[in-house]
Amino acid sequence: MDALVAQLQMQYRNYTVSLYQQGFLDDQFTELKKLQDDASPDFVAEVLSLFFEDCVKLIGNMARALDQTGTVDFSQVGASVHQLKGSSSSVGAKRVKGLCITFKEYCEANNYEGCVRCLQQVDIEFKALQTKLQDMFNLEKQIIQAGGKVPQVDIN
């Protein structure tokens, strides 16, 4: 049992570190983990769930705004991008946040093609993050089910 736990814990550590190294997550995600404790044991998963719901909603808004026949209201697109930038920043979704910064510049420049490209990329990125985090949460569950504790992962 202990060998299994140790192996899972190592897997978990390596996986988590890789997410930071590959730029999926930044320090703000570490801050989120500090807020999880016995009083709020699923906090991180809950917040990320809210975030992904936000992504779906905001990306939908952006798509609709960009899909207008006639003139596109870039400020409307920009408003949704701004919101997504804010929430991605709060949860440590580094790549999504970075894309939003670029996206915002395209909105301000009224650059239609740039916006459409960013929209596609943002959609891909949030889904990629969702999958990665699901794998991470699954590892946590496995550790707990094997009788172990989820280790604190020191990124630095």
Binding site: E31, K34, H82, G86, S87
Partner: protein, 144 residues
């Protein structure tokens, strides 16, 4: 009002300064949830609201003596500065304390905050230890 000792931070004797009610106002679910949890983690009792109206309504409840309002300045469809102004207009310049959360580093934002009677500013994304020290600082100077 606190449920046991504040977990996470080692400030054995100074948690009493953080006891008290706080309203946090942010537009979106993610920021509201994170800020609320952060404040609870450092020992505060928090009411999270999502509009200026809710904020002012909560403040008007005499049975809940709110000491601080944490106000997100960058909210769509709502002017954070306007909310701050209204709070000062109805409740005066001493209480509640207002701490603004902003993504901006620009000077004019800081100046406007001072004009509106905002007592503190924190850069987003908010770090746990920064919220803790800024709250303590603001509460400390208010009680002097």
């Amino acid at each position: 009002m606190l449920a046991g000792k504040a977990p996470g931070l080692q400030h054995p004797n100074s948690n009493s300064i953080l006891r008290g009610l706080i309203i946090t106002l942010a537009y979106d679910d993610v920021n509201r949830t994170v800020t609320k949890r952060l404040l609870e983690k450092i020992g505060c009792e928090v009411t999270a609201v999502s509009s200026g109206f809710e904020c002012l309504s909560a403040l008007s409840n005499v049975e809940m003596p709110y000491r601080v309002v944490i106000l997100d300045l960058q909210m769509p469809e709502m002017d954070g500065f306007e909310v701050a102004m209204k709070i000062r207009k109805f409740y005066g310049y001493h209480w509640p304390l207002i701490i603004a959360l902003t993504a901006s580093t620009e000077d004019h934002v800081r100046e406007r905050c001072l004009q509106m009677g905002v007592n503190g500013m924190i850069q987003k994304p908010v770090l746990l230890h920064v919220m803790d020290s800024e709250l303590r600082r603001a509460l400390q100077s208010a009680s002097e």
